[in-house]
Symmetry: C2
Subunit: 345 residues, 2 copies
Amino acid sequence: MRGIRQLAKHLDISIGTVSRALNGKPDVNEETRKRVLAAAEELGYVANQSGRSLRQGTTNVIGLMIESSKETVENSDNFFLGLTGGLQSVLARHKLDLVMLPCPSDEDPHEYVKRMVARRVVDAMILSATQRIDKRIDFLAKAKIPFIALGRSSSGGNYTWIDLDFEGVAACAVDRLVAKGHRRIAIAAPSNDVNLGYVFVEAYRRSLERHGIEYDPALVIRVKSSEQGGYQAGHELVRLEPRPTAIILIYELMAIGLYRRMVEAGVVPGRDLAVIGFREEPRARFLQPTLTCFRMSLRDLGVELAETLLATMPAYAEFYPKGARSTIWPLELVAGESDAFSLDA
Amino acid sequence: MRGIRQLAKHLDISIGTVSRALNGKPDVNEETRKRVLAAAEELGYVANQSGRSLRQGTTNVIGLMIESSKETVENSDNFFLGLTGGLQSVLARHKLDLVMLPCPSDEDPHEYVKRMVARRVVDAMILSATQRIDKRIDFLAKAKIPFIALGRSSSGGNYTWIDLDFEGVAACAVDRLVAKGHRRIAIAAPSNDVNLGYVFVEAYRRSLERHGIEYDPALVIRVKSSEQGGYQAGHELVRLEPRPTAIILIYELMAIGLYRRMVEAGVVPGRDLAVIGFREEPRARFLQPTLTCFRMSLRDLGVELAETLLATMPAYAEFYPKGARSTIWPLELVAGESDAFSLDA
DNA sequence: CTGAAAGCGCTTACAG
DNA sequence: CTGAAAGCGCTTACAG
């Protein structure tokens, strides 16, 4: 039998009481509860999730969807793994488990989400890598499945998201560079349809205009979000005429490839070219000269994601009175040597 | 209602027939099956997994367990994400889904596995980062839960595993270096209890002895499996007296840190020091001189892992007549410039 | 505070 | 080939 029935028989009480004791219901004699908990511990009993799910209509599992495209696999650092600690610390309060759902690269992400939701393997979803037009968002919103998106999108109307403060990063980077006398500032942006590319480049454009610098589309270098992309960006940079005196990178690993290409071209970052990287990255810590970039805590972001997601779920909303507000996640400047020179000098 | 009942009513047949049609049972009229499949497609019906699981006693989900320690998060490349493509291509044949189970760093991996198994969230497990003594393996073996370990261990008796060919890599690396005249060959090995460290160092020792070179424990440099660890290994290397003329690295990202430290020390890889890296890595592709290392296909390894795991499961064994054999996964040498010099020269 | 019973959505012997 | 019914392991109104 090996289920609640067996445990109940062992204790010589009804399965209903066992269930109530295990689930912390108030109407159970404390003495009884103790006996039940002790026996469960001793016999290694844990409720079968399928039984619970079927009865309650919930799985108590939250899914973090990950796209495992070749590009993600080869180049991403463990961004998502970095989030899990924070996510789990919140979910554990409610005995919710986190699973990562890798969408096969040959399956349409939209179909994948539909399948996972229809099968009821998770109660709620955390989406990432949002596209400008993202059918997953429309689907989840229409199906009334709780979800949160890590990233903005034009889709889905009034859904809940958290996104990095690309505007703040772009503005801060441009301000710094302009203050040092730079006027020709290039930017390396992702070549695919991921939404952050649009948001970032737009913020860059507005920041330039705020300083009375005309936006020049030729300075927007479209490359892959990878180390190789950074190398490619460097390659295109040195061919621009006149050459930009500064470059802003939108992806953390680009800096490594860019530096490499600069060495080849005899261009010294921090002297001949100002470089501002994006997110601080352990693997970029060795760069010489040290990279000016932006810092954030993946763990804290995970906490915020989980709390905001739970706030959208009726069963947990009461614990998160701040509600399901979409938020912009700030990053903090880490000044390095890579932009520490003035052009006038 | 929104379940098989509703779909059956819509089609005006019994739920049993609907179920049989959907599950590809042979005893269904082809005409009926077509109608059912069409209606399911149209109405977006997918069987609720909890109902199926409860009835069948299986979840149709396979879990890939990942330890999200700080070290893994900061330094691992997406090794696991690289496996998912191959894993899923096999699992999809049997309509099995893959989920990644990140073990919180503050939870004991052994407890985590117990909880996941007791809750019945997965039918089988893929373990990684096996320790020399690994309680998870003992537990799963005793509980008769199907599993496969990526990595050998002393635990669990006669379980099924796939492991990289550390012996082959070590022998190949030592042979190459000795052929070039090297006699003082250092090795950078992981400082924790992960099993591969033991296997690799042991193979290195035997390879040396095969060439009549005495094994010198001082040349085994214990560092973290990370870029920083590589830097640290370089640091210790230059202090060894007399300095080794070659070094073998056991972790892919070590090379980047090692090169960095060599530049600082004025030691030129490929001229003053022969370097052989471990697994070929996109991020190490830029190194100058190019790194001699070993290549493998993560996708193919994923396929092998999935097929071998399924061979251990009674329900799928018939499809995998090769059976559940433990295997050593070969790596192929990629000759670079980092060891392309002879000592006698 | 506890027990008996219903029922969540499926699949699968069993009858016909 | 199809239908009616049992039952997987739980939780939760409902009675007492």
